[in-house]
């Protein structure tokens, strides 16, 4: 299983185009989305500047892009080509495949997170304590595993042609409802309550709590952990159950 994890990471690193665009995309969006805003302008009553809000939002968004879009379509295609059938004829347990796929996705998401944070610290002059930078990077990275697992599950449910549009729906839905594009502060209370139980909002909230100098909320962590277990479990189950003509 170690070899599989290593090979999956290696393959991802060898796919230079995908790595490059996954890294540039969120960085570019971050720069564009904060172009017109004043340096000290604050978002509602959150106590965060627009720049700080979008830095975490775009780091999260970039990680989501990398793991969700990369995984779902590639897995669906591998299934179609029959590699997964071949792999199922080995002693590899279901969790091995899912672990390797999530690890490969995490390889892409880490640099895309770091680039946004570095841009924030240098070009956008966001100031925070060292522990805050580290904590934001780690929590955003760890949180991206939830969406990586979702990507694996979609890759298992959908055909290669359908995987991209389906992951798009999840990706835009979860990112939009997570307040990654438009701050959630002006939204109705009931909607803010509902989105607190979807994975997007708790994901962005991890980093935003840290920016405010707090630890991430236990509820956000719990919600994300539940989704991770759900998506990863579903993916592993689908891997072993995949008795359709792949």
């Amino acid at each position: 299983m170690k070899t599989l994890v290593r090979l999956e990471i290696l393959r991802t690193l060898r796919n230079r185009k995908f790595m490059f665009f996954s890294m540039m995309y969120p960085a570019l969006l971050f720069v564009i989305s904060t172009l017109g805003t004043g340096k000290d302008k604050e978002v509602g009553d959150l106590g965060l500047t627009y720049v700080a809000y979008y830095m975490v939002a775009m780091a999260a968004f970039g990680a989501m892009t990398a793991v969700l879009m990369g995984n779902a379509e590639r897995i669906a295609r591998e299934r179609e080509k029959g590699w997964v059938r071949q792999l199922r004829l080995t002693a590899l347990p279901g969790r091995g495949y899912v672990t390797a796929k999530i690890a490969a996705a995490a390889t892409v998401s880490l640099p895309s997170i770091l680039i946004v944070l570095i841009l924030g610290a240098t070009v956008k002059s966001v100031h925070m304590a060292a522990w805050q930078w580290i904590a934001i990077a780690v929590s955003t990275w760890a949180g991206s595993l939830v969406f990586a697992a979702l990507g694996v599950a979609i890759g298992y449910l959908a055909t290669a042609d359908a995987a991209r549009p389906i992951s798009m729906v999840f990706y835009f839905g979860l990112a939009g409802l997570g307040g990654l594009w438009v701050p959630v502060t002006g939204w109705p209370d009931w909607l803010q309550t509902v989105i607190g139980y979807l994975p997007g909002r708790p994901y962005a909230a991890l980093g935003q709590s840290i920016e405010l100098g707090d630890a991430p909320h236990a509820k956000d962590i719990a919600v994300l952990a539940c989704y991770l277990a759900l998506f990863a479990g579903t993916a592993a189950w689908l891997y072993r159950k995949d008795t359709r003509k792949a």
Binding site: M1, K2, L7, L10, R11, N15, G82, L89, A91
Partner: protein, 329 residues
């Protein structure tokens, strides 16, 4: 199920008791199509078995069921007395699928190394590469291989460890004649080490030359099971062809001794017989004067067509015309 990895494993374990493969009353349908219908069979240690059938006969489905890639609707599939998944987890089964894709963006050596790492009773990577004849392309990227090289990589994946059963689904498709010969030479080595080999093919000469047992699958049913020689005999080992003048008395011809099949086209009579001498003698005995008489041996291919046609007719499906024309598929 954990089995200690033994990198020094030298050969398959000796089987005792349970048959290598046991199908009992196995069925699998896709909607209204019965891909595999009530198949029962047993494979025994050391056998080399060919699974023959025309396209769509259910060969691939039968192998998928055997390997646990699909679940049977009815009946039971056992491999070494266990479920297919258990047998695979124990590293007793290696398989080369026609539809088995390969991981891309890695080298041949990396991929085969992965198969070795995952196998509970793996051989060293170099040994596997050498046995599959791909030691020289170990550093090549998998997505840059030719079709024949890909097949060899698949073969390496199927033989990464000390399997007791090797399952091959049309293993030589896409290989030229010399590659095919080299492949079967490698495969014979596996057989000599005491492994059981099951291969699906539609190259009948392969079944004839390599298998010591032939299973014929047609429309999901197992319609013949025996040695190649037995199957030829069953189909009528010889073909007798002659022309007759005037009206042909079909009933009289049908009553000929040792007649297995009869076909009349205009003045031409084609007979399949399991004793051509006796049948020919009886033709003269009827007072007939056959012209252009020819007696020829049936190849396994013709035998196969004869058996599947008979089965088609028996199943009351619209019969494919032409009993034993050579080369007809």
């Amino acid at each position: 199920m954990t089995v200690t990895a033994t990198n020094g494993a030298t050969g398959p374990t000796v089987q005792t008791g349970a048959p290598v493969v046991g199908f009992s009353g196995v069925s699998k349908s896709y909607g209204a199509v019965r891909a595999v219908a009530d198949v029962s069979l047993e494979l025994h240690p050391g056998e080399t078995v060919a699974l023959l059938g025309p396209n769509g006969a259910g060969k691939s489905t039968a192998l998928d069921l055997l390997l646990g890639l699909k679940n049977a609707d009815g009946g039971s599939v056992r491999v070494f007395g266990r479920t297919p998944a258990q047998a695979i987890a124990e590293g007793r089964v290696g398989a080369m699928l026609q539809s088995g894709g390969l991981m891309e963006e890695v080298t041949v050596r990396e991929l085969v190394g992965l198969a070795c790492e995952l196998h509970p009773r793996a051989y060293p990577v170099d040994q596997v590469l050498a046995a599959a004849g791909i030691a020289d392309i170990g550093s090549r990227m998998v997505n840059k291989l030719s079709g024949g090289q890909e097949q060899r990589v698949r073969f390496a994946l199927a033989t990464a460890g000390a399997n007791d059963l090797i399952v091959l689904d049309e293993p030589t498709v896409g290989m030229d004649v010399s590659a095919r010969q080299a492949f079967w030479a490698t495969m014979r080595g596996q057989v000599e080490e005491g492994r059981t080999v099951l291969f699906a093919t539609h190259y009948l000469e392969e079944a004839d030359a390599i298998a010591d047992r032939v299973l014929v699958l047609h429309q999901g049913r197992l319609i013949a099971d025996g040695t190649a020689a037995e199957i030829k005999a069953r189909a009528g080992a010889r073909r007798i062809t002659f022309d007759l003048e005037g009206a042909i008395d079909e009933a009289a011809l049908r009553a000929l001794p040792h007649l297995v099949g009869l076909e009349i086209t205009g003045p031409t009579v084609r007979i399949r017989s399991d004793d051509a001498d006796a049948t020919t003698h009886a033709v003269y005995g009827l007072g007939l004067y056959p012209r252009n008489l020819e007696v020829a041996g049936l190849g396994l291919e013709q035998a196969f067509l004869a058996i599947t046609d008979a089965a088609t007719a028996a199943n009351a499906y619209p019969a494919g015309a032409g009993g034993d024309e050579a080369g007809k598929r």
